[in-house]
Symmetry: C2
Subunit: 426 residues, 2 copies
């Protein structure tokens, strides 16, 4: 351990630049600590030594012939055609510049530097933070173990679904669907991210009939469905809705983390008595351009500090743009302890129907997942209960290492699932 | 006016797709209202008619040969080489799906749609909102008129600067700088976005000496410097710091809006008795890729609703990547009334030294700006007071339509400014 004044925040970037890479790295370090476009009087050597960000490491990658992003300015004295050097750059910032302040951390490691004209590409790949952040931010309150306890599901993924249609159902129609799914044996249901507190289904009006069904079923069977109510809103409304869910016996809240923001989610975490299901809609904006934005490895650390208990990662062979290897890296990132803990449950979602279970398990070696399927449950030829059995069977096969097709020979619901939804890609 | 249930939220997008543009537009509308990858039982015709987003208009642009973003999937039955169609697409969402909920609005118009594999490019260009948003969100509390009243500056831009070095100064060193600048006649000073509440200069320790200098000077001269203290943090800390600034006689707060987030900024607005200076650091991430993200025209509407009084826009010939025409569009967007009001002051910053004043005025025809300069003030050969006079003279020349060089003949401080900082580009 080093004392106050010497600890550093470490950030790793992908950088692309028409300048010598050392100069570009120094430009980032200068901009994000003591830089201005002209030297200023107060910028003494002592202050620079104390406050300056430091380029720790540069790992050259390929060069390319054209800039990934517009607006970079090449050095004028460059002789031949401009080449754009790519590299991984590690920069460290004095903790003493920032403090354990989550928004200011983000402004430091991912602020104005995206606008630098010395760069034609910049992506924040990872961050490493001093213990002071752990001291201030308690992180996930429930995490994997707390979520398992509340759902009573162990040794397999928590199987869930999203209320569909995403929007438009009335509170009672939502409750009908919840009853059907609950009776079929589902572990988890969530509101869509589009469905928070709309005029046609105000959250408080939705909580009542939904929890009535869930509580009735729990009284009868002992199994309580976890329902993540989407309370995304401003702070006071979120806390009011937190109370409504808590008082009705609910066990989970959902928030659209990018839309609510770091301060809002932290505020909720400080007051919440329920797990926070973190939905990352909008995430494509942060990462789909390979040469701009934030990688999930860095991103998820901020939200674990803010205190989400579950976090979405897409799934293998998802319906979106994201390649499988990226999904696998995201799951592994979430399952890597931070400050020795901060456990958070990866939420596998998007186009999942069970067929991805073997590959998901093979590549991640974990069952500490939420596995959300839509049509695979509701549109199963044997009905939702059969659909759920089919999904569970797919995970049994995955865990036992038995090929799905073989396991299906003795598990008819899985066979039906495969027949209806499976174009088994491997 | 239309009644509840028929009002719509209107969003305009730049879209790029390997699919027929009509199909891609429908994919967005479906994803962001009632879509799932398989039809589901509850999705009745009645519900669809009521809840479905609608493609209102498609304006074809050029086609390109390669996708701007990775992960798009072309239709398989396409005969020849894949072409990527670009277009402007207008989609309307039923207000009844969303309600006057700022985070859920963002999740609706700028959520999962960035991840659609039907698209190889998506940028939210603009949004148009029903009156219900105005009813719930009071917006800027001070705006342009309130800021002019607090600073006592009329009929010209509010001239300001940023404390530099960005980080590392002690509270007393900061106060020394503030005294120097205040005595020189500055209107406005702000903390850097990197400088919030760090161990080496805790906000409360900084407020005291800074406000001591500002209040002393105000007692003597009647002019009170507006200082924007960077209170970016979690909600409780922001309110605590709001109180500290207010109690010391301060007149402005600054927040890093992207880092704090919509719910956090709205929370501050609901409690604040001071103007909120909105710093958009991180903005490059949202917009520097031309085929991804959010355009400022849409972005600024969200933050005006959230209640910022000032908002950064870079400046002409800035040191960053952003082209002048984009800066001009941003200034005009901020000065366009929203719901007949929501006035917010554009903050022109980055590499400004006075030389950009004529072109800024010519292109925007406004003096309702904050104009922030760094070295142009502190490094002026005649000292900061002369630097400020030079800046004000530059704006006088701009407003009067007199070329800078000519005006400088009778205004020596402006001449010195030009000699030292000016490579007058036009």
């Amino acid at each position: 351990m080093t004392g106050r004044g010497t600890e550093r925040i470490i950030a790793t970037y992908f950088v692309e630049t028409p300048h010598p890479i050392e100069a570009a790295a120094e430009a980032i370090a200068g901009e994000q600590s003591s830089g201005t476009f002209l030297p200023v009087p107060g910028e003494t050597e002592e202050l620079k030594n104390r406050a300056r960000a430091r380029v720790e490491k540069i790992t050259r990658l390929e060069t390319v012939d054209s800039p990934s992003l517009p607006g970079s300015r090449a050095p004028t004295s460059n002789g031949g055609a401009v080449k754009y050097q790519r590299a991984h750059v590690v920069i460290s910032y004095p903790f003493d510049n920032v403090g354990a302040n989550l928004p200011t951390l983000l402004s430091t490691v991912a602020g104005n530097l995206y606008e630098l004209s010395q760069l034609s590409g910049l992506k924040l790949l990872d961050i490493k933070l001093p213990q002071a952040f752990a001291k201030r931010f308690p992180g996930p309150q429930f995490g994997i173990s707390g979520t398992r306890k509340l759902t009573g599901v162990y040794d397999r993924p928590i199987i869930g679904t999203i209320v569909k249609p995403s929007v438009g159902l009335s509170p009672e129609q939502t409750a009908d669907l919840v009853r059907t799914l609950g009776e079929a044996g589902i572990d988890f249901i969530k509101d869509d991210e589009l469905m928070a507190n709309p005029p046609h289904s105000p959250l408080k009006d939705r909580v009542k009939p939904v929890m009535r069904e869930i509580n009735r079923l729990a009284d009868r069977t002992g199994k309580k469905v976890m329902y993540a109510f989407n309370i995304s809103d401003e702070t006071d409304a979120m806390l009011e809705h937190h109370d409504a869910v808590l008082n009705a016996g609910g066990t989970c809240l959902m928030v659209s983390i990018n839309s609510v923001g770091l301060a809002g989610v932290t505020h909720l975490r400080r007051h919440s008595q329920l797990p926070i299901h973190g939905h990352r809609n909008g995430w494509g904006l942060y990462t789909r351009c390979p040469q701009l934005g934030i990688d999930f490895a860095a991103y998820q650390k901020l939200w674990r500090l803010a205190g989400v208990d579950h976090l979405h990662v897409n799934g293998l062979q998802n319906k979106y743009w994201e390649p499988d290897e990226s999904v696998v890296r995201s799951i592994k990132a979430l399952l890597t302890p931070m400050f020795g803990g901060y456990e958070v449950m990866p939420v596998v979602s998007s186009g999942q129907w069970g067929g991805q279970a073997p590959e998901t398990y093979r590549l991640t070696q974990t069952v500490d997942l939420m596995y959300l399927a839509g049509g695979g449950i509701m549109a199963h030829p044997g009905g939702p209960a059969a659909g759920l059995r089919g999904l569970k069977q797919a995970w049994e096969a995955a865990i036992q290492g038995v090929p799905l097709g073989e396991y299906a020979k003795t598990h008819p619901e899985l066979q039906q699932t495969i027949d209806k939804f499976g174009k088994l890609r491997r």
